[in-house]
């Protein structure tokens, strides 16, 4: 069957499944809309968390970046899994014990201040909208390929689909839908990886295949062959290509880790479990399901790069003739995400590191995972499956994020502060309006995204890392932290991070609005803006602890509340549903 028809069928079937589940478990009350009734067992909650967590950045973006960064791409692998360790030990159990709906609600209560709550809402919205931009980039790439249209048109279609999808159901619908989405996305990610690993190395397990010898009888290890092919064309060796510097990699990884533990849509999931010990178990199970994809991703990245080089430029002497380029090459050219320019006019594709001679003038990193099965000449149904998986990943996360944005506006700002007597019905209405607004803003900014999908998402993590994470940490682990300290810290942390990021990427990521360009790129210790969140977090902690020394200690009942959330016993009952 033709690829396009097949893709329609597979994508259509998976969508019918999600929508069917969403309708079956349609949200009724506001409590259900936000946290799905707190009655979901840890393994299932872990699976849904994994789907919520693994977005277009993980599915579509990450392996593509690893394919081109090589060893430097490890920051994403360690950062986006290691953060779960922090989440499981430093936040999840205590926030479950506290037992309310949203992150700003906790910050507002713990720091006995509506201003702190509003500040948390603002930080959360900035980080989440940036995150949604990354999702939109991924969704745009997937739709542009699958419908064979320009990237921007793919993005508009994607916005429409996200709107219908996220605004329709609430978290309860989404929890069960996300379990289905996890199954679809992990199957879609692993199947091509198994085929390709088997083909290249003879080992069906991608994690082992990556460390095996090539099956072509040469006895050379795959990674060694990749290193030598790339070095021969002037590229850095795959396995030792450090991302900028060791320091930058440390800071980048740290930023992604603490960002993981500071992102509201993930933290919210731990409000949905019955007991504190289920929160611990949920975090552990979520990590198992995440690690399943994250240990396959490096194999996907390396093998995609191997196949790409083998197709276009297997060695310095042999180049592919442009007239003989394969179908996938032509299809991606239509999206504008892959561009060839015959600089020396020989009709052949020179793909080398030297910018003057390189004729692959644009290879968008985000096309690699989707193009991978085509490059490896896998059957069409596998290609269709990958598109469906990518959309599942992007939609599930976009929906979770939009819900976090919506709940912070309607629940925290309106119901909590400005319009306390609002009815449940209008609260739901306002939350749907805020979702629509967030989709429009993120879609607009997604036309010229600040980075590839995974890079954009990394920026979102930096923003969460520098603002929310320290405020939550200190709220639990420092009884003496007061509202002045926490608020000054949040402002300083997100302020300095935004300053550095916007200086490099333009205000609100609009490239024309850069400032202080004379400072040069990565001027602070050679750290790139995507990695700056960890520095922002250090600032946040430092400012908070200085301010707390000169201001009054928090009131007695707040210190008592902190003691309470540290102890599992005596918590509130889970809400029945």
């Amino acid at each position: 069957m033709e690829l396009k028809t097949l893709t329609y069928l597979v994508v259509g079937a998976t969508f019918a499944l999600y929508i069917g589940i969403a309708v079956w478990a349609r949200a009724k009350t506001t409590s259900d809309f936000y946290v799905a009734g707190k009655g979901i067992p840890p393994v299932l909650n872990g699976m849904a968390t994994a789907a919520d967590w693994m977005s277009a950045a993980s599915f579509i973006g990450m392996a593509g970046l690893i394919a081109f960064y090589g060893y430097g791409g490890s920051v994403f692998l360690m950062g986006w899994t290691g953060g779960y360790v922090l989440l499981a030990m430093l936040l999840a159990p205590y926030l479950r014990k506290y037992g309310k709906f949203t992150v700003p609600e906790f910050i507002g209560d713990r720091y006995y201040s509506n201003s702190a709550r509003i500040l948390a809402v603002i930080c959360l919205i900035i980080a989440s909208v940036t995150y949604v931009i990354g999702q939109m980039k991924g969704i745009g790439v997937a739709f542009s390929r699958f419908l064979e249209v320009e990237y921007a048109n793919g993005l508009y279609i994607g916005m429409g689909v996200v709107f219908i999808y996220a605004v329709l159901g609430g978290m309860k619908g989404i929890t069960y839908t996300q379990i289905a989405q996890y199954c679809v996305l992990i199957f879609a990610y692993t199947v091509p990886a198994v085929f390709i690993s088997l083909h290249l190395t003879g080992n069906p397990i991608p994690q082992l295949g990556l460390g095996s010898t090539m099956s072509d009888g040469s006895g050379v290890y795959l990674l060694d062959k990749l290193d030598s092919t790339l070095k021969g064309l002037g590229f850095p060796a795959y396995t030792t290509n450090t991302r900028i510097s060791t320091l930058n990699m440390v800071v980048y990884t740290m930023s992604l880790m603490i960002g993981t533990a500071g992102l509201p849509h993930v933290i919210m999931r731990f409000f949905t479990v019955p007991r504190v010990r289920d929160a611990r178990a949920s975090a552990a199970w979520a990590l198992v399901f995440i690690a399943t994809l994250y240990t396959v991703a490096p194999a996907v990245g390396a093998m995609a790069r191997m196949n790409l080089m083998d197709t276009i430029q297997p060695s310095a002497e042999t180049s592919l003739s442009y007239a003989e380029r394969p179908q996938w090459f032509k299809n991606w050219e239509k999206t504008g995400l892959l561009k060839f320019e015959d600089k020396n006019g020989d009709g052949k594709i020179q793909y080398v590191a030297d910018k003057e001679k390189n004729e692959m003038v644009k290879v968008d990193r985000d096309i690699m995972v989707l193009a991978n099965p085509e490059i490896a000449q896998l059957p069409n149904w596998v290609v269709a499956l990958v598109v469906a998986g990518g959309l599942a990943a992007a939609l599930s996360t976009a929906a979770g994020l939009l819900l976090a944005i919506a709940s912070s506006i309607s629940h925290d700002l309106l119901k909590g502060i400005f319009m306390p007597h609002i009815s449940e019905k209008s609260e739901l209405m306002y939350s749907r309006v805020s979702m629509a607004g967030a989709i429009a803003v993120a879609g607009y900014l997604g036309i010229h995204p600040p980075d590839f999908a995974a890079g954009t998402v990394a920026l979102a993590f930096g923003l969460a890392a520098s603002s929310i994470f320290p405020a939550l940490m200190m709220g639990i682990f420092s009884k003496k932290m007061n509202k002045e300290g926490a608020m000054a810290g949040m402002l300083a942390g997100i302020g300095i991070t935004l300053f550095y990021v916007f200086q490099h990427k333009g205000i609100f990521f609009i490239a024309d609005w850069k400032y202080l360009e004379g400072m040069g790129t990565n001027w602070f210790l050679g750290i790139e803006p995507n990695a700056f969140g960890a520095i922002g977090a250090v600032f946040n902690f430092a400012v908070a602890f200085v301010v707390v020394r000169f201001t009054d200690a928090p009131p007695e009942h707040i210190q008592h509340m902190v003691e309470e959330i540290r102890i599992p016993a005596g918590g509130t009952e889970a809400v029945e549903h």
């Binding site: 060893y71 360690m78 290691g82 990590l287 690690a291 102890i567 016993a569």
Partner: protein, 83 residues
């Protein structure tokens, strides 16, 4: 010291111990000492590269399960388990 205070101290000790392993498996073996460890091979993998793209992740999974198990034990020992 009250029961709750000693529970909290035991919990902090557990968390600290886990975080040491977390730091070693990722930042130390995967980044800071990766180049040195790359001298050792694990099949086709250089060891530093393996830690950064595989080993660290396996360690994280093991750590979160160990933590969940130990923390539940602590709840019992100090009698602060939920009903």
């Amino acid at each position: 010291m009250s029961k709750h205070a000693s529970y909290w101290r035991a919990n902090l000790r557990l968390v600290f111990g886990c975080l040491v392993v977390w730091f070693l498996a990722s930042f130390m073996f995967g980044i800071i000492f990766a180049e040195t460890l790359n001298g050792i091979r694990l099949g086709g993998y250089k060891l530093g590269f393996w830690f950064s793209q595989q080993g660290s992740i396996y360690s994280f999974v093991a750590l979160t399960f160990y933590y969940a198990w130990r923390a539940n034990q602590l709840d019992h020992e100090f009698g602060v388990r939920e009903k």
